[in-house]
């Protein structure tokens, strides 16, 4: 018998080698208590959270929790069914209304996760004979959406407008084309030149999908994302987003002005063949989305935090993923996985949690300590964070 697991041997070996150096396993952290959007208890120690996607700190918002509790009481724990059968409750409709209000768009469709939103929309709208043109650094859910569909897939160099334009021009003019972009790329926290990319895409007759998962709520005048910020949201055909970041719950969505968009509910398999989210999650999400529409003070504070952390880390001598703070993600580049894991563990021992990110999730084979800020981080916490980075950086020899 061939052991089907033998293909994973190199990964198992790499993990064993890493743990043999004595570091704590970076991929099996447990939060025993969560005290607020920015503080949890891990391994018995109070820890500042700097590696969540809780950008707007909505997880503990009293209105968000109250709405969820009420729906829990009134509608029960779960839906036990598909959106197209018995799984659409009042609050599923309401959260779609909230999304339409938030984005000022005609249609909104909620999926069980953001991953499924990309998987479903991309695999369904780009079919046999069509082309998907995507940034090489696209999220796994975008690649998996491509793999699930029957379209031809063309990749171009990260954020390279000219590479995109050249490839679009080489494709048959009459073929259906979907350009897939992200507003903020989550590994380095860099922003895409959407204005130029959408212009060349439209000139080539392509439809455009933008994943704004990491920008919702705090980029753009109304928090609609990078496309809004760059003044091109009206040219975007489909925006994909998630509730598991700024909204603070779980779920994914697509909003669109396409007149035939509603047909998606019938043909999109990752929408049809899965259970709808629990009503409590929907009620919490709808409340959160409507609160995010009025979150400009929180937004301003989040940007302050991002700027302070970026400058502070740079001044300490860390190598960062972007020259300037472009989003709520600040990626600290580590020399290799071993030292990255050591630094990660030392930070945790000092009461600071960040994300350790490594290939294949990261571009160019990099190991990153990814910091994501929250609007609820106080100025004092940010200053604490910098102190802990300094201590851990010197202890591991990553800064001198």
């Amino acid at each position: 018998m061939t052991d089907l697991f033998s293909k994973f041997d190199p990964l198992i070996q790499q993990r064993e080698n890493l743990l043999a150096t004595g570091v704590r396993d970076p991929f099996s952290l447990v939060m025993d208590e969560v005290k607020s959007p920015t503080v949890a208890v891990c391994n018995g120690r109070e820890t500042i959270l700097l590696g969540t996607y809780n950008y707007m700190g909505m997880t503990f918002d009293p209105d968000v929790i109250a709405a969820g509790k009420k729906a829990f009481d009134e509608f029960g724990a779960g839906t036990t069914g598909s959106r197209v059968l018995n799984g659409t409750f009042r609050d599923h409709r309401d959260v779609e209304e909230a999304l339409k209000e938030f984005y000022a768009m005609d249609h909104a469709m909620v999926f069980s996760t953001g991953y499924q939103a990309n998987l479903g929309i991309i695999s369904t709208i780009a079919g046999k004979g069509d082309f998907i043109i995507l940034d090489i650094d696209s999220h796994a859910s975008i690649y998996d959406g491509c793999k699930m569909g029957d379209a031809e897939v063309v990749a171009f160099r990260h954020n390279d407008v000219e590479a995109l334009e050249k490839r679009l021009k080489r494709l048959p003019p009459e073929a259906g084309k979907l350009v897939v972009l992200e507003g903020v790329y989550s590994m380095l926290g860099d922003v895409a030149p959407l204005k130029e990319m959408i212009r060349v895409s439209k000139e080539a007759g392509a439809m455009v999908l933008v994943d704004e998962a990491h920008s919702m709520g705090f980029i753009g005048e109304h928090g609609r994302g990078v496309a809004e910020e760059q003044g091109v949201i009206d040219d975007v055909d489909f925006i994909i987003g998630t509730f598991s970041k700024s909204v603070g719950t779980v779920g994914g969505f697509c909003v669109s002005n396409h007149p035939k968009f509603e047909v998606m509910r019938l043909v999109c398999r990752p929408y049809v063949f899965t259970a709808a989210l629990p009503p409590s999650v929907m009620a919490s999400s709808a409340t959160s989305i409507r609160k995010l529409m009025h979150g400009s003070n929180k937004r301003a504070h989040l940007w302050e935090n991002s700027k302070t952390l970026h400058k502070g880390l740079r001044d300490l001598g860390f190598k960062l993923g972007t020259e300037t703070p472009q989003s709520a993600i600040i990626a600290v580049i580590m020399p290799d996985l071993e030292r990255g894991a050591m630094m990660w563990a030392t930070l945790l021992e000092n009461g600071l949690y960040v994300n350790l990110a490594r290939p294949p999730a990261t571009p160019a084979g990099m190991t990153l300590l990814r910091c994501s800020l929250c609007a609820e981080h106080t100025a004092e916490q940010v200053s604490d964070i910098l102190k802990r980075f300094e201590i851990a950086g010197r202890a591991t020899g990553i800064i001198s």
Partner: protein, 80 residues
């Protein structure tokens, strides 16, 4: 009809900067095992080939191409 040898020579020239091991190139040379390229190198190389011949090699096609010879044949087919 493009001369196959001309295309092979051009492809070999494009492989040059990425051929860190200095492996000998023939139709049977494989990208993964003989040249030991990772996915990032493949991406850069594919972009160079696409721009040189003004073609598109989709990711679906790339999955089928394992050797230099297969790439040369694909380039000729796509360019014709």
């Amino acid at each position: 009809m493009t001369d196959r040898q001309t295309v092979f020579d051009k492809v070999a020239e494009l492989i040059g900067p990425f051929n860190k091991k200095g492996a000998d190139l023939s139709d049977a040379t494989t990208f993964q095992h003989d040249l030991e390229w990772d996915s990032l190198t493949v991406m850069d190389f594919v972009a160079a080939v696409e721009d040189e011949f003004d073609i598109i090699i989709t990711m679906n096609m790339q999955a089928e191409i394992e050797t230099v010879g297969q790439l040369v044949d694909a380039v000729i087919k796509l360019g014709s």
